[in-house]
Symmetry: D2
Subunit: 145 residues, 4 copies
């Protein structure tokens, strides 16, 4: 079964660190993945299923797919707003959609998606999403559709 929907976005704010820039004077493209990850884990914590607790239960959610479009550069000291929303829920994977905006000038900096697989941490083999995580995400999906 696949649930597909446009959930309301969770918004997360962060500020660009100096070490995240490169010699082009902008945030290096690899660091946006850290921003998306921070937003995603804050979102999951807000839903009552913090990622640390999921791992403590022996379950991992490694990234299996990422698609990113960089629309405009982010600069040092920029305050950024990362939006994250559930895009697709399957029995053994979750897809989140993302945007990064800079509220100061309204610029759209990135849009993208990240798909997570679900694995058993001890065997590293695929498994179904834990029931409580799936239930919580379905509630979220229905609330926002």
């Amino acid at each position: 079964m696949t649930l597909q929907f446009a959930a309301m976005a969770y918004m997360h704010r962060l500020k660009v660190r100096y070490g995240e820039t490169d010699q082009m004077g902008v945030v290096h493209h690899a660091n946006h993945l850290a921003y998306l990850e921070e937003a995603r884990t804050e979102y999951m914590a807000a839903l009552g299923v913090p990622y640390g607790a999921i791992e403590a239960a022996g379950v991992g959610l490694p990234v299996r797919r990422a698609e990113l479009r960089y629309l405009a550069p982010a600069f040092y000291e920029d305050e950024l707003e990362v939006s994250v929303q559930l895009e697709r829920l399957r029995s053994a994977s979750i897809r989140f959609g993302y945007g990064i905006q800079r509220p100061a000038d309204g610029a759209e900096l990135l849009e993208g998606m990240i798909e997570l697989a679900c694995i058993d941490l001890s065997t590293r083999r695929p498994r179904h999403l834990p029931e409580d995580l799936r239930a919580q995400l379905e509630v979220e999906a229905q609330a926002s559709s």
Copy 2:
């Protein structure tokens, strides 16, 4: 004008650093972007157009799109082989295709693509690819088609 072709792949070897792993015991997904970048810049240097020289001439090649599929995890101390090949050449963008393999067991770890825009570093506005870079990439394209 768009050139599309399957160039012969340039192969680059590297070794996973400890700090590139995360608590899941594997290479954190953001670090693969550094591997692709290292392979891409080695490839460009091998073609006679080192990226440092391009920037010294006032031209930047920021990443504008990335698509990555993570097929299997990489581990600390793994020796990895990154293949990079020119996939598409336009007047103001370059697309490279990538694979990451682990020669020790033949595992395919990642496949993906990165698209670079071309900008004037002083204005940060789009511009055409520098003539020498474009010429060199076209030679490469014809040699491998």
Copy 3:
């Protein structure tokens, strides 16, 4: 002239990101430098001399010395408190002292110092601290001594 003093500490809170951990299950030791940098630049912004404005005026403050003692590990999702205080002010260098604590259990995780040199960004040669920065830091020093 050298001013030496124990300034009141500026406190900065941050939260450990997943990608900052390594396969030992703790924050990789290099990432603490990013935490100290974030706290230091927040402190300077709070003093009215944001680091971005200093660079915009053609002045850089590169790290020239770092001494760190790691007392206990930080974990994923930990909320950390970084204290930073001015330790020594010279005509062309600034030394900050740091601590990292985890409020949840009161653990002391790190103590250290970072010394910044002052350079002209266009020549990369040493120069005196800008007058407004120095004045602001001296006010801070007197207020807290």
Copy 4:
């Protein structure tokens, strides 16, 4: 018992990655720790005690102290030579001394030391160095004194 000595240095070469630079146009100071770690683990592997095998045996060697002096900046595409040598061996800690040079112009970029503690990975408590690691390091110490 403490052994103190000036071992012959192990030399490791690496090349600066683009993403390791920051907007000052030089390698960000936190990345030097990754260079030292890469050199240290290559050294240990060359001695026949690869760090991965040490961890596989349940032993961790976390960094407990770092002292770094940055003497000159490293730039993108620089080929660097990192020297690492055993400086002090105690029952439950190892201290390595380091230098980073740029062979192209002979510049000394960094000197520093890193001290590793020894822990049991399952309890995270201090323990003595494993016998084979200690024996190998003592052989190295005698060979070079």
